[in-house]
Amino acid sequence: MQIRVTVNGTVHDSDVEPRTLLVHYVREVLGLTGTNIGCDTSSCGACSLHLNGEAVKSCTVLAVQADGAEITTIEGMAAADGTMHPMQQAFMENHALQCGYCTPGMVMAATSLLKENPNPSEEEVRIGLEGNLCRCTGYHNIVQAVLAAAGGE
């Protein structure tokens, strides 16, 4: 089936099988491998990206469902000159990652969270990131980074 999506500002016309998952489309058709596949069961959040401005788990969305949508992946977060998004900067400054596997999904979920709740409490950040699992950090520095980004934005 023919779909048209705008990914990180670029329009793509593609012919996809209906069963193609959005995460596979983004990674394998568009080559944007920053979006990771973790659990593949809509639990871990590693595949989070923005669909029309909201974080979704792209392992649980069909590419055909995203037809016509605006998509942002981690590759679309930094400015064209390479300046990091404030959330990426906050993750770096707060050492909010170890292995980095969950990080793209965390950044996408966290920016979506701040869009809905610009000044969250620590508890609201923890609840807001409940859909993203990190197996390294114990979450502390991730939460600190999101709070820092909220304060700075």
């Binding site: 193609t20 069961t41 974080a55 979704v56 979920a109 979506s112 969270l113 809905e116 859909g131």
Partner: protein
């Protein structure tokens, strides 16, 4: 994991969706947000031959004050239920329960109608709308009909919807200031409830719905009867599992579920009775 191959058709209206599902027969399934169906398709627990996409039927996404009840379009997403000021005022139990569905990413996609039609007894909203005495509106080729929530859930993932009917609206009575509580016991934040309880109370009137206490969401009528005849919260809560037929799984034995139900119903009634 990739689902088995299927044909995909997109509905332009509710009538179109019903006509498409009629054309394609019993192996066709509606897909809305897909957050119940796609995981099952990826695990090959569901293998529909045709998906009829109703996710773009924007006119079925609404929350309206309809006098004595609130009318919610079936395509309304969990996040919109959670953040609705109309529901916060008139049916706060439902808005709160919606905030416990999955996680934010899931709530950006999943819909209330999809959750109810999918009819997983471990889901939060079927039991919550059951406790609230909701009515569901089904549209078929010959028009619409009302189905009381208490008559809707027939068995494991089975509802009284006909194969060519679509759930289009959920009507939830206003709570009119009733006390309420939502109790969800799980091991990890985003997990399904091992046992969940949605309850409300106004004087001797009450409603208690149980999550994951059997093959269907359960209306704990014995508890409500006890409350209406003046029983204490503690005594009523002892009847929590009287209408349930819980199963064991990796998370809980039958005995543990029954115990949890009693504890959570007691807590829910205490909170609702304040």
């Amino acid at each position: 994991m990739i689902p088995a191959a299927f044909d995909y058709v997109r509905a332009e209206s509710a009538e179109h969706a019903i006509s498409l599902i009629g054309q394609h027969g019993e192996d066709a399934k509606f897909i809305a947000g897909g957050h119940s169906l796609l995981p099952m398709m990826k695990l090959r627990m569901a293998q529909p031959s045709v998906l009829v996409d109703i996710g773009r039927l924007a006119d079925l996404s609404y929350i309206r004050d309809a006098g004595d009840h609130i009318a919610i379009g079936a395509l309304t997403r969990h996040m919109d239920v959670e953040k609705s000021s109309i529901l916060a005022e008139h049916v706060p139990l439902l808005a709160h329960a919606a905030s416990h569905v999955g996680d934010p990413q899931v709530r950006h996609r999943g819909t209330i109608g999809g959750s109810i039609a999918h009819s997983d007894s471990a889901s939060d909203l079927p039991a919550t709308t059951l406790a609230l005495g909701a009515t569901y509106i089904a549209q078929g080729p010959n028009g619409t009909r009302e189905i009381a929530a208490a008559d809707f859930f027939q068995g494991f993932f089975t509802t009284s919807l006909e194969p060519d009917e679509m759930l289009t609206e959920i009507r939830v009575p206003k709570m009119n200031g009733a006390g309420w509580s939502f109790q969800k016991f799980n091991r990890r934040a985003q997990d399904w409830a091992i046992v969940g309880v949605a309850a409300w109370r106004r004087g001797n009137d009450s409603g208690v719905g149980l999550v994951n206490m059997g093959s269907t969401p359960v209306l704990a009528t014995s508890v409500a009867s006890a409350i209406s005849s003046g029983a204490s919260v503690a005594d009523a809560a002892e009847l929590a599992a009287a209408d349930a037929d819980p199963q064991k799984d990796l998370n809980a034995s039958v005995e543990y579920r029954v115990h949890l139900a009693k504890v959570l119903v007691r807590r829910a009634l205490e909170e609702s009775s304040k």
